[in-house]
Symmetry: C2
Subunit: 331 residues, 2 copies
């Protein structure tokens, strides 16, 4: 049995952001079409403070592949102690017809890519058609990834950005302006940044509410990325009261997404969630219906996004003859 | 970051049965010393009838390694359709200090080895010191593995064997006699086989009770291997009524081991379980106390056994310079 091994740099070359957006859209539709088995993920906290390792599994019946992603994070001492990044990842792909391990690929890039693509997919169905200005609260790696993805689906004319670190913010401005030629305005305040937004994207570590309800203009589309665990928060839960709330997974978002907060505060009920994004993409529920409504997309991240993205990388690798074959046993 | 890759044949050469017995004993002790984090495993049923794939995880705090074993099974068409075995396995080892993936090894052999070793460890603490005759109900691969392991801890003079297939039984007799020089008596009946036993080992697929209570002589040690899922069964639950019952994990065995049956039939209560084998090995509870008692060891198999066994294979590989290094990313 031959298993394909793919390194990080090969993974990077093997997939375009357009491909990832297609893969994530496919994942969302599959999830809402009974094509996905996706058990609860297993997370383990480890002795190094704040560190953890997660295992996320999914079976996509249509492509007959099973994916298992392990990702570690929060190992703050790794760079100095071991010369390693603070988080790493690996993805295994199995053929569901035989149980065979067909691929082991580095998984450091996939979470970032498919999370960026998630924002772009939501923009397609939930942002105003005339949206041109994006505001970022939080300007780390994922705030870059969101631009890489969203520019594939809309024309971004201006970015407003806020971060609690002035250094991070000015690095972001110069990086984005040189990579994409899109002007970045450093906001004088969070409030000012939010008031400029056609699309508001929060990508912080989710340590508390950062955006107040009365700052949000009618017609804004909000992409809530940073909250993927119970206890994290980025938005004033009052924003949810009159908004159209769309999630990747009702089960996940009501337990550990941004949506948990307005549910907990009884600002809305689960029935008040408009739907899962796959339902919108399948045409079973409407997306944005007018230019006045505030829409929120709450993304906690699903294993099936890893599955469809890794499957695309794998099939591109096979097509182009990239990667090394390793025979774990002779058959 | 360099990851060590180990093939099946290398795994085979890298570990002796003595090492596996040591690793399993260490695993049991660690489990009962608060050294183990072992989440519920994830099992997925797949479209091919009877097929499944399981993911079993554990963190062993003392050696600071995390193991993740995937094992597939029940793919009956694999040999003809794909030239692959009906079940396969892979083990990943992670360094708990950094989250780094340090090893990917073939995992086809480890489940069989550590399950064999489990029987031997139980013989050390639960069989009579003068035990010489072993009876096997079921004569497949695991009935061979049990002998390979138990001969490391006692002198086996005679084997009595029963199987519902005469072919399997006669192959077993000739294999065992030529590999170990231990005479194998083909039993005239299950009852006769059981009555000859100092140690009785059941290694069938667990499709129903095979051993009646009044066949079991005082002083017999029973190793119940075949039942590792709800619905499987090998023993008349009445055997448990007056026996000393020892399990690998109370949580697992009372849910899906042989022990579930007497609990379900109210022949015994959970409190009637004498203990977990790690408690006996640590000296916190007695093993066999006289030559008359019937002892039962119910083994459902634990992820920590994979962890300590794979860790031993890994450290032997590093010591002997065996295996290939693969760099999933440059660091």
């Amino acid at each position: 049995m031959k298993t394909l091994l793919l390194k990080k740099e090969e993974v990077r070359e093997l997939i375009s952001m357009k491909d990832v957006i297609g893969a994530v859209e496919e994942a969302y539709k599959a999830f809402n079409s009974g094509q996905v088995e996706q058990p609860d993920y297993i997370g383990m906290h480890l002795p190094s403070p704040g560190s953890e390792i997660d295992f996320k599994l999914s079976h996509y019946k249509a492509n007959q592949l099973i994916s298992m992603k392990t990702s570690s994070g929060g190992f703050a001492d790794n760079p100095t102690a071991f010369g390693l990044p603070s988080g790493m990842g690996t993805i295994l792909l199995f053929d569901a017809r035989s149980g065979a391990l067909i691929c082991v690929m580095d998984g450091s890039l996939i979470t970032g890519l498919r999370t960026g693509a998630a924002g772009a997919v939501s923009v397609k169905v939930l942002a105003r058609k005339d949206a041109r200005r994006i505001t970022f609260i939080g300007t780390g790696n994922q705030a870059r990834m969101q631009i890489r993805a969203i520019r594939e689906v809309m024309n971004i004319e201006e970015i407003h950005a806020w971060d609690n670190s002035a250094d991070t913010l000015s690095r972001y401005k110069s990086d984005i302006e040189s990579e994409f030629g899109i002007p970045v305005v450093i906001a004088s305040s969070k409030r000012d940044a939010v008031e400029q937004a056609d699309i508001l994207i929060t990508t912080t570590r989710g340590k508390g509410s950062l955006v107040e309800a009365d700052w949000v203009r009618p017609g804004t589309h909000i992409v809530a990325i940073g909250t993927d665990q119970r206890g994290k928060q980025e938005l004033d839960p009052e924003i949810f009261r009159n908004a159209k709330v769309v999630v990747d997974s009702i089960a996940q978002c009501s337990e550990k997404g941004e949506t948990w907060h307005p549910l907990d505060r009884q600002i809305m009920t689960k029935d008040g969630i408009h739907g899962e994004i796959g339902e919108l993409l399948l045409g079973n529920k409407p997306g944005r219906e007018n230019d006045q409504e505030v829409t929120i997309f709450d993304s906690t991240g699903m294993a099936i996004q890893d599955n469809t993205t890794a499957s695309k990388i794998y099939s591109n690798a096979v097509k182009r003859g990239v990667g090394a074959l390793f025979e774990f046993f002779e058959s």
